[in-house]
Symmetry: C2
Subunit: 290 residues, 2 copies
Amino acid sequence: MDVRQAAGEGEGPLAMIIGGGSIPIAVAETVERRGRRVVLFPVSGWADPAVVEKFKHYWLPLAKAGLFYRYARAEGCRDVVFVGKALRPPLRSLRIDWLTLRLLPRIVRAYRGGDDHLISNVARIFEDYGFRIVAPHEVAPDILMPAGPIGTLRPSQRDEADITRALAVLEATGPFDMGQAAIVADNHVLAVEAIEGTDAMLRRIAELRAQGRIAAPAGAGVLVKAPKPQQDRRFDLPAIGPRTVEEVARAGLAGIAVVAGGAVVAEPAAVATAADKAKVFVAGIKAPDR
Amino acid sequence: MDVRQAAGEGEGPLAMIIGGGSIPIAVAETVERRGRRVVLFPVSGWADPAVVEKFKHYWLPLAKAGLFYRYARAEGCRDVVFVGKALRPPLRSLRIDWLTLRLLPRIVRAYRGGDDHLISNVARIFEDYGFRIVAPHEVAPDILMPAGPIGTLRPSQRDEADITRALAVLEATGPFDMGQAAIVADNHVLAVEAIEGTDAMLRRIAELRAQGRIAAPAGAGVLVKAPKPQQDRRFDLPAIGPRTVEEVARAGLAGIAVVAGGAVVAEPAAVATAADKAKVFVAGIKAPDR
């Protein structure tokens, strides 16, 4: 069998390799509502078993590229979406199959760098095997952050200044393929995300505040999320959800600003409710000019 | 009394406003060994009471500028050193005296920004009142990080690549007046310091490693510390000590690289012993060309 043979022509069902969080299911529901069948490939240890049950799915242990290839072909899938929270596993923890083994030198090279580097190299491997990688928002545009506020509050002038500074920080760190989020309060950079993730970063700020280590008063400060400047937007767009709103409130910040069209919102209605309840703003902002 | 009158001429004893850690005492001992008297002003809540006992000292509650002014003048001090770990206190927690009250508008403006901004504005106030701010390494040059290794290990070629990348990250974040440290492993930026401090950042990496969230194997990765590009070197140079070495080992990193002459080493002999015991390198490196 020539594994490099094209994996099928035409639209066909959409293969979704999914990680954690609620966004994968929001995407799957939208795609099916729009009349296209989905086949989920939840990654073992990342995806939530409870939520994949209502869709056709095949559990996918990491490093089982051969398994994905076999089932996706059998289902007639050519288009593949990657969506959901992923954890970068230690290479040594992977139990690999034959196809992955053949690809291992490429995967090892992909590992030596940031997330974008890893993701785009893995994507290229899929493309070499005849699949087409599509962005979650190509198949479900309504998951993208809209412009303007979600909920009733809006950023103050002071918040706008903090947003501008946070965007500048993210612009500076973008080329290093690190986090997509920063926290600024009263013009002071409190945190820049690297591998810990946004929730962990917010919990850190809540702790430092409890220890009296943050000079800005509660109710000042903004979490800003923006895609990296050179990011391949088919993968790993920044995301927020109701839990982000709750963590922002616990960290004593004024709100969340997200580049409109450059981030994904899980459960927008729940985000609006959570924002109004916690008295924080959630704003879709313009990307800085480049 | 004209509080703006010069606080004394000539060398006289050295006033040291000191925070936490062991570096202030190392500086005080060096200065006295070189024949100049010191008067310590340990800041309440920051400095360690046990270590200030052997020197003439006046405890200084924060926001008691008047108290410092009175005692420093009475002691004939004109030169002032700031040294040791400081915590940025919430403004509302300060119980201020009359002089501080008069200065409050300037202090409030100084608070709206990063540490450098705060520190240089506070320094300017001291200078307006006739004091001269001197750098800890002006009065105790032997506290500066030397070039080359401390201990027996040296960075590998892989470590050198990680050091270069970390220096580039710090160069990019420097203008934002945030942290002075970053951690890179296998070309992947694991953490950038903001307000949490180096020890907390290292503990975060140790935790993420325990959770299997770090792809690089144990023994890869470097903590790099460098002064900010526009930093006023009289204040807040990055510092390392034996505890930094222990935290680096716990985080599973290969070593520490510090810009030679641009950072302070507490207890160099103890750092060498700790480095050899933990099998990590500690290297004084050249600052990147600008």
